[in-house]
Symmetry: C2
Subunit: 343 residues, 2 copies
């Protein structure tokens, strides 16, 4: 029952074999094909294992077997509920395939992402799912080229160099603005940034197309750019909005994600602006906190779990199926109307 000192060597199959008085091949059989071993010896071996505190050395196992039983998701930002929901979906699929999932958080840093990718590659994980800081980064291609299946999650890329799973952001933007037009709004603002983010850009594009289709002059759709998609930036944008004279102030706002929308909502309420009467708000992602906001938020829902599950399935196909061909899956978003636009 003693505790091992740091650095002390742990028991190996050889030790177990010696203690049980069998060969080490037999110990291995107990671990991997217990039915091949007679009950008597099996008991003896198992007892020796618990006595010695034997722990199978996964490195050696994997070295010999050449294969690992884990999948990895390198997430962009673990504190955004959207990504943890995606991770849940991946987890479900991994569990179904009897793999375990490890998560790495790059916290928006390309270098952290880089070192996670390197380590996972060296560990010979079955596949890597990643929401990259920059989808065009060549290091993704390198990892894939060297043989580790890579699937890009919630981002896309012009070329088709690997599988990806994403949601149609242009359509999402269109849905949001069409909804606002249906509700009779004629002065609308889009809030989000930085502009170079694919999501921010695509959602705006969708918004503009719906706006133009309704016959409004394109440049009458105001754009308020933020420096990040966070709650704090949303509040900030709310303040800027409040500075616009009432007669010209938008009566509705479409935010690039729910965090921004929640910040904006908070600013509105705390400064006495009524939602949706004076200003209607549409968010994006439909995270749990959107429905739970003080004024439940109308939002564009993305199939988060499904996104994760599908990505996991793609990476597994690539890992096991020789005839695999890359696919770009694009899901359809859906508008969920709640009080923040419905009065």
């Amino acid at each position: 029952m003693s505790v091992r000192e740091p650095g002390a060597r742990s028991a190996s199959v050889k030790d177990v074999a010696a203690a049980a008085g069998v060969s080490l091949g037999t110990v291995s059989n107990v671990l991997n094909r217990p039915d091949r071993v007679s009950p008597g010896t099996r008991e003896r071996v198992l007892k020796a294992m618990t006595d010695l505190g034997f722990v199978r050395n996964e490195s050696a196992r994997q070295l010999r077997a050449g294969t690992s039983r884990t999948l990895a998701y390198v997430m962009l930002d673990a504190s955004n509920p959207f990504f943890t929901d995606v991770a849940d979906g991946i987890d479900a699929a991994a569990e179904a395939a009897d793999l375990s999932l490890v998560l790495c958080n790059s916290r928006d840093s390309a270098s952290r992402e880089q070192s996670h990718l390197a380590l996972l590659e060296q560990q010979r994980v079955q596949g890597i799912l990643v929401t990259p800081v920059d989808p065009d980064s060549p290091s993704l291609d390198e990892v894939a080229r060297r043989g580790t299946p890579v699937v890009v999650v919630d981002r896309t890329r012009a070329d088709q160099s690997f599988c990806s799973v994403a949601v149609d952001d242009v359509l999402g933007g269109r849905l949001a603005v069409e909804h606002l037009l249906d509700r009779g709004h004629t002065r609308v603002a889009y809030v989000g940034g930085p502009a170079h983010l694919g999501q921010v850009h695509d959602r705006l594009e969708g918004a503009r197309s719906a706006w133009a289709a309704a016959g409004h002059p394109e440049d009458a759709l105001a754009v308020i750019e933020t420096s990040a998609l966070t709650v704090a930036e949303g509040r900030e944008a709310g303040a800027r909005l409040a500075g616009i004279p009432t007669r010209r102030r938008p009566t509705a706002v479409f935010c690039a994600n729910d965090l921004v929308a929640l910040g904006l909502l908070q600013h509105a309420i705390s400064s006495g602006v009524r939602v949706p009467d004076e200003i209607a708000i549409v968010g994006y992602d439909d995270i749990e906190f959107a429905a739970a906001a003080a004024v439940p938020l109308t939002s564009v829902r993305q199939p988060r779990q499904l996104l994760g599950r599908t990505a996991a399935e793609l990476v597994l196909d690539e890992a096991t199926n020789v005839g695999h061909t890359h696919r770009q899956v694009l899901f359809t978003p859906e508008l969920v109307a709640r009080s923040s636009t419905l009065g």
Copy 2:
């Protein structure tokens, strides 16, 4: 530039050595002690590596070296922002120690937790941080006894069998209720559950002690038990609260965590109950969404990142320091008063 088929063997040091016309010892030197190798050969070896798409095999490395460079955090519920903040703190410490952090999500399931622990142990990670489903589970002891440093995060245990890092929940409960007493409330309810959770129990205990210290009869502190600490349960509790006749209805509520508080807040606002005038609300954890709520939430702040950072430091000490002794660190929470109690 060709892509390897699934199952194809990747290049090894031996292949690199052959391609560069050196021995494999030299290749290893290039990887581990580049200064020992003359610039000429080094270049040649590096070129061979990129040509062949060489990826160091971490299993073999670790098998030989006997040590890994990773730390793991087995989190209880990745979709609770509280835990992702703790993970950020751990990550910071890991980065400082030049280790990489992998996250596993047990999603409130003891069996998932179990299999994550087993795998991590077999991978010989440097240490395991865990917020367990059940802190008294004997499998934690077994892992520790067999030699992997284990630190329990945000939970405690009667015995001192390993290091733990937690926050004084009894004090937190006291702070919350003292604040409400200061604001003149005389009818207060505690909302949380299930009761067997250590946190739920301790916070209530603290609440009761403050309540009694103010001379109020102990049983006059109402308790509304929920079946989980979620937003949905918070809404539910709000509905139950609303069912109490006004004259007997509590004028203030102390919730066992912010998710419950946010749900309760949402119910109040949507049914026209004014916060804090008709009902004051105190949450617990001070997650980011608490400050960003429509009525910013008064909450008991826990030092989340510090919790994580300290836990990581403890596990590293245990992993490297032979003279390590277990410590139970208890942090002090702090009340953050906002509009939900301040009018």
